[in-house]
Amino acid sequence: MSVRPLRVVGQSVPRVDGLEKVTGRARYVTDLVIPGMAHAKVLRSPYAHARVRTVDVTRARARPGVLAALCGADLTWCEPYYGPAYRDRPVLAIDVARYEGEPVAAVAAVDEATADAALELIEVDYEPMPPVITLEEALAPGAPLVHTGKPQAGIFADLSTLRPEPGTNVCHQFHFARGDSAGALATADLVLDETYRFPPVQHVALEPHAAVAVWSETDGLTIWASTQNPYSVRVELAKMFGVSLARIRVIVPHLGGGFGSKTYAKLEPLAAALARVAARPVRLAASVPEAFQTVRRCAARVHVRVGFRRDGALVAVECDADYDVGAYADIGPRVVQKATYTATGPYRVPHVALDARAVYTNTTPGGAFRGFGVPQLAWALESVLDVAADRLGRDPVELRRQNFLAHGEEFAPGDTPIDGKLEESLSRAAAAIGWRQAGAADRGRGVAAMLKASVAPSVSEAIVRLHADGSVSVLASAVEMGQGTRTVLAQIAAEVLSVSLAQVTVVQPDTAVTPYDQTTSSSRSTAMTGRAVQVAAEDVRDQLLAIAAQSLGMAARELALADGAIVGPARRLTYSEALALKFGMSGGELIGRGVIAPGRTAAPLGGSTPFWEMAVGAAEVSVDEETGAVRVERYVSVADVGRAINPLLLEGQDEGGVVQGLGHTLLEEMLYADGHLLNGTLLVYRVPRADDAPAELECRFVENADGSGPFGAKGAGEGSLIPVSPAVANALARLTGVRLRDLPLTPERVWRALRARSPRA
């Protein structure tokens, strides 16, 4: 077969679910109506930390219309604890409430009003205890402990060596070193020793978490869930309820945004428990304030010591990062160690000592959020690089270029060599922002780069079915949450099987139907699930070629697929004809299988990343010296994606990443006082609006087809977000001489720093 040009892959085809979405026909979990469905409401702790002496749900249970009323003490018939890192989170508080907003009791009733009214009848006797809200409070000697029991490990193999520090609030520590960092710092020409802070922020997916659960004798538990990883939810539910995996069916309809907030079990355990007791389908839909009480990004305090030679070469990085993972670990320990492993970013650093701690506090649990711990560290390192450039009299662009890891260079022994060209992203970003050209006097420019590993090892499986009429079903469990994966998977199958996009249907995830996929996160779906779909489609292709070869009496290599037919010299067989030949009738189908499972390796985290996500951001900012308000006027992101399967969708995803990054850079921070979250609603928690976005926003791609994914693709979607904060702060520093180390860069912080600035020469 000759290599033919790509037809569908690389094209900005319209998204396959677009029509449903612009007509309002797309159904999300909260739009579902299951016959007999009851409605659930949750009573939450008003205290950040309290002993729960008694919970009395008797009166609520007796109220007409109430079908179930539960508290933690009622959950004797199931395993009440869950969590992917530690099984430390009870479905409903048991003995202790560990953060304001923790579910303490729940009711399912015939309608929402009845459920709400029944919550008023629940009596809880709390004994408030002193909380720890900040990292400083949690790490102080003799600090009150958020958890006192011995934790049970969750489901992640690379966390099999969880290292809590007994008697403290540290639930996990990670250490990674090579070379002699202390010695290298002692002899470095320039050592910068600085501390940076990253705030707790919430994802604010416009669709808050939701689940509808129903039990049946025959099928077990069926749950429609707003989740990014139905298979992780399935294994949690199976463990909790003592049911086989085959009897847990997780179905994911349209998802109204995720950004990490919908990874791992969230509301599903409670919805399932209520449905079991109510013996009815139960719908549990969180409000936006409840989403703020469900998960957030891990805040961090990052202390770095970075050594340079006079010529600009990076010689050593020491990093001590403390992450605030909130009251329950969720996936926090994994966020912490995976991010810290790449704390040196895309740079060649011979001497490294990286230490991180995951610290419990009495706040909303911290979990996955776009960037998975890397934005916190990149905020520190990429800021320090600009400080160093200033001190060494070097251009920040050239300093980065000098220290970049090269294509093919080892990142760490056993892990995947660098598979992209950072210098190409950097050159394009610098050119697009006009780095070499004089800018307006009231504008400043800054750059930053990023590198991130994807989850490894991980597994994606796919099934491709070719039907008797030549149409195709793709069965895969990557969740469409806006990023466009359904469209991309359809493009991949259409490309391999040489059919039009309209001939391909990508089935929505359903663990009873679509095969295993580990998670829709870590920018992995195109590279991993997409590759599984490609292999499954190639399996079907090979079956078609074999059928045609036999019937036409030719060698398979003389044949190729084109426009829904197997084509050879002077002969052509449509797929329908080929299937009819194989089955001797107009029925039957071809089934192709794709399994991508690279397995464990000797890499430091136990698996080699399937690709490195790499990107560069460049910002041009202005500042109102009277108010301290920073405006990002122009922003350029260049991501090294290997190949853009659908450039328009990818561009949209990266544009969204930049503006989401502007949120924690300029606006967003969950603020606590006396243990209470002050701004857990959209009335007072400001996310970027249309008029906050840069007036000029450009997202571009480096495409060298050098990824391990389909057609040379790598993962994308997180890279655009990560450089935003340091690029903006670096631009602000170059404009004003003011260096800020705490996010967000609020007008007050900037104004105070401008006022404190010594007069410039």
């Binding site: 309002g24 026909r25 416009l206 936006v288 503006v659 959209l682 609006r689 008029d691």
Partner: protein, 159 residues
């Protein structure tokens, strides 16, 4: 328990006369979603900030999450389901698809109706007019650029 008082209201919803009996405090969003099965308008912030529930009442954009249904009595309500003329899409719907202005879709219906209200008030909006008008419409996926572009495309086609 006493029987709760009910009121009967009449609206023209997406061009069709509808009559429903509701509690006096019922919100328009619940009436549309639960009684009329029009699920396109979404509940998100529930506080008139995010715009996911935006519908038009007599051509005015309102947040259905905080709009009493009785206030819609005798008036015309347009939801996203009424934008297309049969299978023929409204130019805004077409422009959103072409520009890539749709991602997760949860904000899309509100964005479309907000844009329609804007273009009715001001058929030749500047980019700044659009940005200003979208202050009550949040999107967490797109970064807004393609949404603004889609609206400007429709506005420019009308010039």
């Amino acid at each position: 328990m006493d029987a709760a008082p009910r009121v009967r209201i009449r609206m023209v919803v997406n061009g069709g006369a509808r009559e429903v009996e509701i509690a006096p405090h019922a919100l328009l969003l619940d009436v549309l979603r639960d009684l009329l099965d029009l699920k396109g308008a979404k509940r998100s912030c529930d506080t008139q900030v995010c715009g996911a529930c935006t519908v038009l009442v007599d051509d005015q954009a309102v947040s259905a999450c905080t709009f009493l249904a009785v206030e819609a009595d005798g008036r015309a309500v347009l939801t996203v389901e009424g934008l297309a003329d049969g299978e023929s899409l409204d130019p805004l719907q077409r422009a959103f698809l072409d520009a890539g202005a749709v991602q997760c879709g949860f904000c899309t219906s509100g964005m479309l109706l907000t844009a329609r209200a804007l273009l009715r008030e001001n058929s030749t909006p500047s980019r700044d007019d659009v940005l200003h008008y979208l202050r009550g419409s949040l999107c967490r996926c797109t970064g807004y650029r393609k949404i603004v572009e889609a609206i400007m495309t429709v506005a420019e086609a009308r010039r």
